[in-house]
């Protein structure tokens, strides 16, 4: 998709691929035949630029045909380069960072009020944690005991201009969330068993919201992309695409 459309953001797609795979195959109670079912779990992709992997995941899960993905970023397509709620299975459009978590909080409040037992998962990027709006939400959710809310941070350590440590350091990251009152899980974001264990434990029994700090590798699975800032922007050539597909075994 990214190659055909000469699009960008492949690095941040690959870092969260395992997270989406576990969410959509093991965790989320969603129905491709009835994407708007009122009692469904919600997933909010706040790092809306990493949408190619989101669309691909939904296609794999049967929300629409994988052939539809050929139109990604093409004229007239619903598959825009930042995630769009015109696509079946997508809850909200994002792209401006720092919007997803407050929306997810609203959904968690409404779900609790409805008593349907649905859970809300929200995926943030690490660079996105620079946004003040997220910290408004991080303060709010534990105060209101939103145990049905789970944030996952795709902590691949690279943001637009360089490493997170250099641009605007988040450390001590887990301690910040703990100090705000969250139940914190810190795992290898490519360990599918660990992902299934921590995500499957939502809602957290004591009523605290959960944050999963998922340590990931930007460009995971493709040797020439791993931990390389440039793959936030570049689109692979024909040769590099062939190599990448061979490496991930696609």
């Amino acid at each position: 998709m990214v190659h055909a459309a000469k699009a960008s953001h492949i690095g941040g797609c690959l870092s969260m691929a395992d997270i989406l795979a576990v969410l959509y195959t093991r965790i989320l109670r969603v129905d491709p035949a009835d994407p708007q079912s009122p009692g469904r779990d919600r997933f909010v992709l706040s790092k809306g630029h990493a949408t190619a992997i989101m669309y691909a995941t939904l296609a794999e899960c049967g929300f629409f045909s994988p052939a539809d993905l050929d139109s990604y970023c093409r004229d007239g397509s619903i598959f825009t380069g930042h995630v769009s709620h015109a696509v079946p299975g997508v809850e909200v459009s994002t792209g401006s960072l720092g919007h997803g978590l407050p929306i997810a909080i609203g959904m968690a409040l409404a779900a609790r009020s409805a008593g349907a037992g649905s859970r809300v998962f929200c995926l943030l990027s690490d660079g996105e944690c620079d946004e003040g709006s997220n910290w408004e939400g991080i303060l709010f959710a534990p105060h209101h005991k939103l145990g049905n809310l789970c944030v996952i941070v795709d902590f691949n350590k690279i943001q637009s201009f360089g490493s997170v440590a250099e641009v605007l350091n988040l450390d001590p990251f887990a301690e910040k969330w703990k100090a705000f009152g969250w139940h914190v899980e810190e795992i290898d974001g490519h360990d599918v068993a660990a992902l299934e264990r921590v995500l499957g434990a939502v809602p957290e029994t004591s009523g605290r919201p959960t944050v999963v700090i998922a340590h990931t590798v930007k460009g995971k699975g493709v040797s020439f992309m791993e931990n390389k800032l440039e793959w936030h922007y570049r689109s692979p050539s024909d040769e590099l695409l062939a190599q990448a597909l061979a490496e991930v075994g696609a």
């Binding site: 407050p102 929306i103 959904m107 409040l109 409404a110 709006s133």
Partner: protein, 307 residues
Amino acid sequence: MRTTFIESLSQAASENPDIWLLCGDLGYSVLEPFAAKFPERYLNVGVAEQNMAGIAAGIALSGKTVFIYSIGNFPTLRCLEQLRNDVCYHGADVKVVAVGAGYAYGSQGYTHHALEDAGIMSMLPGIEVFVPCDPMEVRAATRLIAGSGRPSYLRLSRQGEPNLGSVVTDIRKPRVLREGRDVVILSSGPIASRALDAAGELAGRGRDVGVVSISCLKPLDEATIRDAVRDASLVVTLEEHILRGGLFSLVAGVFAGDAKRAPVTGLGIPEQGGKTSSAGSREALLDAAGLSVPTIVARIEQALVKR
């Protein structure tokens, strides 16, 4: 206006269990009746307007109707992108309610003066914008937006505003506050009381002056506005807002393409641009902005000479 709003909202909420109210830690001694009656549908999110707007969108996208309430610029400009993306782009059923229109917060100073909000909100896609002039219009607008199912903006002044006309039949339609055909003052918000005073003064000098309250800035009822000014030799707009983007811009846009039309004179608040704001009551600040009744009269007389 605030009290009328919360009474009307409480009434709507008692009929519709899906109505929620969020505030950004403002509305003390105003919102309590709603909070007491519907504690499970009331939430003070704290001093965090971006979060409030996003949360409202999330609740609304779960099938509810959500009002968010704060002072002037806080639930509008502070969280503008959340309103654009999360609320309007998704067509989420969120109602933004701002109290303190124009100079309503008088001596509190520039941060509390809402001078661009109505224009900026009008630019958002799919939103409906209401600037009522009196408690009767507030009641009608609140009832309408509570059931409209779409994003809305409601701009309120503060308290103690008198009713300025007879019963409101349709809040989307311009409402005639005073009959008159040669000069027609189109006004939005409580500053309509000054339009009425100015019209009375001009009538004493033999002028035929009408006053029409335009509460619904978007969608603007162009046909009724055209009808109201059909025989006018001068159209005046009056608003407690800057001219750019507000009532004047909207009305001028209606007539811009006409080959034959009456001139449109815009009366509003000048842009502040780097000048510091003085303390003063709403009335004093309006006077200083060139919107005292005698100045309004003089400016209309001047425009009549030029027509």
